[in-house]
Amino acid sequence: MAVVEEKPREEQLPTRKKKIAATGSDAAAYAVRDADVDVVAVYPITPQAPIAENIAQMIADGELDAELIHVESEHSAMSAAVAAAATGARSFTATSSQGLELMHEILYIASGLRQPVVMALATRALSAPINIWNDYADAMGMRDTGWIMIFSENVQEVYDNLVQAFRIAEHPDVLLPVVVTLDGYILSHTTEALEPLDREEVLSFAPKRPRGYRPVLDPDHPVTIGVLGAPNWYQEIKVQQALAMRESRRVIEEAGKEFGKRYGREYGFIEPYYMDDAEVAIVTLGATSSLVKAAVNRLREQGVKAGMVKIRVFRPFPAEELAKVLENVNALGVLDRAVSFGGALEGPLAMEVLSTLAVRGVMKPFINFIHGLGGRDIFVKDVVEMYQKLLEAAKSGKSVTRTLFYGVRSRKGHVI
């Protein structure tokens, strides 16, 4: 199991690299440049647009030798990206929210045809009402599409995750598309310190494999891609896909470890924060984790044994890792930034976490929190309050069966 230990990162660095100031969108474009992507098919949407613009500028400046397809929609963006991958190109796209929804049909086709497309998703709420700010509704909507899904917490992770994504997607034991998220605005438009790698480094870490290592559209070796699968074969093909997703765990783990060895930043499926002795813990995703970490810090100062688990790889879901790290807590919460309307629990992440534990016989007092929809600010004090609720649950030994919406402007109070 690859779990990132909380150590000051500078100490681990084998060589100090130059840091630059970059937004998440810059970082995504740098990763595309450094991975020498061949085909980019993008359609602009807020807050993904700067990624597309940066890539266009890099191509215009001759820094990246790629074909940029100015597609007329995201449906076509994904279609062209899949087709380019099927032709043997390293192919990339990026989107957000409504754009991802328009791609939806082709998301399944990308994974069903085992095409290693890499996508950056600047997470954003879904209409209606139309809203351009951050939450994870778009990402959660693609959880069953067969994509490997990696969430980033900061700008550096956007870059590192994308570099790893090319290696994972194109690995012959995987051959699945990979999406890397960056929280809309919170990461896509926020400047942080970024330490990019040399291009040669990236291409040695995520090498372009020789043509023909996987079947591609090639007149000398004609293959039929996109067949009709009748009931006598469809199931076998889909089970193979499920097995490839399972197999990808090993490749993802190796990639995260080797990245650490080479560049001093090791990545695992999850990142536990103060979990060694945590009595109460919250599980969350993406840049929201930084906020939860701040709440943990505050509680720790007060002597409360709070912890947090950030899920980095959401697909394949890190069930074993999660069950192990949560084994000893007295109460557990999940902070969702998306709603599964009418669901058994209304937070999609909560349903995943709970079934992970239940099937392993790990039962904890549990609360599902939903906050931060459509860019609603989550304050550290809100998260502290969630931990207090968890402390009560730990004491009483009882779960809160109803999902709690936090930070709501309502006459009944801010928790619904």
Binding site: V71, A83, T87, I106, I109, R211, H221, I225, G226
Partner: protein, 318 residues
């Protein structure tokens, strides 16, 4: 090897089959015949991108395939985008030295009328407008055949389909066929043609020209469909031929914006002869047929004006 020069006789059609038999098309399927000839023209160095529809379904039931060329199918409405992706990838890989720069590989998109006129129109428009080097062939059987003969934007006036049924209030399709050639023309692409399998030399020569165009080209081919048009298996070519002879289908070619009729019809047959052969028009009354005749007369007049000569003559009653 792809054909580069126009052919003059049927004997010049390559013997080699690249869209091979054993597929599941109906007997007398016009579309399958079109594809067979198309593939003979384009030869080995072509990558085919196929939209969902009859031709995709009948040719690739796993684990068999009728295609001896590299072939890709993604979905119904995205042949244009998928072809763009293949073409862009070839370009990038050739430029970067992964693929041989000196070997010309053509991208050929194939889609039905539904996948072109209706749900795939946006994707096609994007492909044409961006100038991708793709040869796009639309086989037009004038309805969504794969899903059971529902009307499309290409269904002609008066035709019965399962969604334009014949009843007491409505009697078949009540809107005229969409003008896909006009739409392609508005994109100012270098080559557009209409073709018909009853005129194989004309059709093949148009495929050759489209293949040898650098940039987007579109060939719109009439594809008789035996169950959809309610015609006997042995009659598809006869019906297709009448479509040209009645002026319902004009064999056109628009090279760099200049239109031309490639098969002139000095004396037209009345549309009645075309309509009467097909079960989908069986319900039409005399006044309906008269109306269709008037629509075709008007269309022929427009074409003649466009090409600047009387390429299609008046109707000659027997």
């Amino acid at each position: 090897m792809a054909l580069t020069k126009p052919i003059k006789s049927l004997w010049e059609i390559p013997r080699e089959e690249r869209f091979v038999g054993g597929h599941a098309a109906c007997q007398g399927c016009g579309a399958a015949l079109i594809l067979r000839h198309l593939m003979k023209v384009v030869g080995k160095d072509a990558i085919v991108v196929n939209a969902t529809g009859c031709m995709e379904v009948i040719s690739t039931l796993f684990p068999r395939t009728a295609w001896r060329n590299p072939w890709l199918h993604l979905a119904f409405e995205n042949a244009g985008a998928a072809a763009s992706g293949v073409e862009a990838a070839l370009k990038a890989l050739q430029r970067k030295g992964v693929l041989d720069k000196n070997r010309y590989i053509k991208v050929v998109a194939i889609a039905g009328d539904g996948g072109t006129f209706d749900i795939g129109l946006q994707s096609l428009s994007g492909m044409l407008e961006r100038g991708h080097d793709v040869m796009y062939v639309v086989y037009d059987n004038e309805a969504y055949m794969n899903t059971g003969i529902q009307r499309s934007g290409a269904t002609p006036y008066g035709a019965w389909t399962t969604t334009t049924p014949v009843g007491k209030k409505f009697r078949g399709e009540w809107r005229p066929k969409k003008d896909i050639v006009g739409i392609a023309y508005a994109h100012r692409i270098p080559y557009i043609a209409t073709a018909n399998p009853a005129y194989p030399i004309d059709m093949i020569n148009k495929f050759i020209k489209a293949y040898n165009t650098r940039g987007p080209s579109l060939v719109h081919v009439l594809a008789p469909c035996t169950p959809g048009w309610r015609i006997p298996e042995s009659k598809s070519i006869e019906v297709a031929k009448l479509a040209v002879q009645t002026g319902m289908w004009v064999l056109l070619e628009i090279e760099n914006g200049k239109p031309k009729v490639t098969v002139k019809v000095r004396k037209r047959r009345p549309v009645r002869e075309y309509l009467k052969m097909q079960g989908r028009f069986r319900h039409l009354k005399d006044e309906d047929i008269k109306k269709i005749q008037e629509m075709v007369d008007k269309y022929v007049e427009e074409i003649n004006r466009w090409v600047g000569e009387e390429a299609i003559g008046p109707v000659e009653e027997k």
